[in-house]
């Protein structure tokens, strides 16, 4: 039963590529936003906080449709990007990565924000008295101490990205080799008469990937925590 066909391989590799790119691109933004939400007070903060969580509570199909309206070829941002920078999201794997990045963003930001909030501000003060400019306080004290949360957020975001379905299929459709991820491949297979065993294989693979990601998150977090507590 465990003969993986070329189409399935394509879907698996595409899913991995989409999820890795989505996570790597989203992480710096996630860290910046988490820091803003954890450490700064500004007008519209709760609004921004709500906006970050929106993909978590909106129906994925709605998020996908909004992405299509914004980043589609005739969308406000999508049109400009295509004309000026030659970046196209619609019906491309890049669009799948964008959809996955947006959908996993709340899961990425939350652990990072919590771990930044947990960093003792008195240590940041001590760094400042030793001559560290604000951005160096962040780079040498806050970020290293928040590392377990950053890793946990990345792994969670990755796990969410690899399983994303609704927003992706709405935004970039289900094109084998371009936008057909594991999830959309499973969706197609269970609608074809003899796709059951292929679907089952992909289901097992996605379970393995998800559980693997969770275990990795746990291991990272434990190691980093032990290191940070001076053991």
């Amino acid at each position: 039963m465990f003969e993986i066909s070329p189409t399935e391989w394509t879907a698996i590799l595409l899913s991995l590529r989409v999820a890795v790119i989505a996570t790597l691109v989203a992480t710096p933004f996630g860290i910046a936003l988490a820091w803003l939400l954890a450490r700064r007070d500004f007008w519209g903060k709760s609004l921004l906080d709500a906006a970050v969580h929106l993909p978590l509570v909106l129906p994925p199909v709605v998020t996908g449709y909004l992405l299509l309206l914004t980043f589609g070829k005739r969308g406000l941002v999508g049109g400009w990007l295509a004309d000026h920078l030659g970046i196209v999201f619609a019906f491309r794997w890049t669009g799948a990565a964008l959809a996955c990045g947006v959908m996993s963003f709340p899961l990425l930001v939350r652990p990072i924000r919590l771990s930044i909030e947990a960093v003792d501000r008195r240590l940041e003060q001590a760094a400042e008295t030793l001559g560290a400019a604000p951005w160096r306080v962040f780079a040498t004290v806050t970020l290293p101490l928040a590392l377990p949360g950053v890793l946990a957020g990345m792994v969670l975001g990755f796990a969410k990205a690899i399983g994303e379905f609704g927003a992706t299929i709405t935004f970039v459709s289900n094109i084998p080799g371009e936008t057909q991820t594991i999830s959309s491949a499973i969706y197609s297979l269970i609608q074809t008469p003899d796709g059951d065993s292929a679907a089952a294989r992909l289901v097992i693979i996605s379970v393995v990937l998800a559980v693997g990601a969770l275990i990795a998150a746990e291991v990272f977090a434990r190691r980093a925590t032990a290191r940070l507590h001076g053991q």
Partner: protein, 223 residues
């Protein structure tokens, strides 16, 4: 030289302090809640005064009338907190080196050795802060502040979190620091005996106001 003339409203509490100290160790003395920590934090730049000026070593670091407020990290001060605040993710060597790196100072092996010897922390260099006793941590915190080559060393009850025997263990180091390191200090304490041993000038605070200023003998006249 340290010149302070500031006012600060902190909720219900108002702090007003004015003094000029040429002393090697200026003791800020007062009961808890007298405004000692707020005052030392203002000197450090962690608290911004509502009105007034602060001059450290000839440089005006605060002047509200002229709109000057030099941020803490540019004041070239050292600060030893009651709770050492060593960085838990760095070992002792890296903790000691932190201020030098942040101030982009050249490596100074001679000074490093002098400070490490003065504070007897040579055996701790490869350890993590989590493995140190309270007294050891405080000695490392002193070394870390000194190695950033500050113009002024601020100490906020550095013995406050230690028990009696530990205090006696650290006090001689502070005396040596005063006599050998050549960095002027501001030393906050509520313990008159401690200040009698260390301070050369005393600023006495009560409810946010300076009630006496002068030599160590002001400690005996009431308070």
């Amino acid at each position: 030289m340290l010149r302070v003339d500031i006012q600060k409203q902190l909720g219900e509490f108002s702090l007003a302090a004015s003094f000029t100290s040429e002393g090697r160790v200026t003791g800020l003395f007062g009961a808890s809640g007298s405004g000692k920590t707020s005052l030392i934090n203002t000197i450090a730049g962690l608290v911004r005064p509502d009105r007034g000026t602060i001059v450290i070593d000839g440089e005006t670091v605060d002047d509200t009338a002229a709109g000057i407020h030099v941020p803490t990290w540019r004041r070239r001060i050292g600060y030893v907190f009651q709770d050492a605040r060593l960085f838990p993710h760095l070992d002792i060597r890296q903790n000691l080196d932190y201020g030098r790196r942040m101030n982009r100072l050249a490596e100074d092996g001679a000074q490093h050795k002098r400070v490490v010897d003065l504070l007897d922390i040579g055996a701790l260099l490869d350890r993590r802060p989590g493995k140190l006793s309270g007294g050891e941590r405080q000695r490392v915190a002193l070394g870390r502040a000194l190695l950033s080559k500050p113009r002024l060393l601020l100490l906020d009850e550095p013995l406050g979190a230690l028990d009696e025997s530990r205090k006696l263990e650290i006090l001689p180091y502070l005396v040596r620091l005063r006599d050998e390191a050549g960095v002027p200090m501001v030393y906050v304490s509520h313990d008159a005996a401690e200040l009698r041993q260390l301070a050369t000038q005393i600023v006495m605070l009560r409810r946010g106001q300076v009630t006496a200023f002068g030599g160590v003998k002001v400690l005996t006249s009431g308070a």
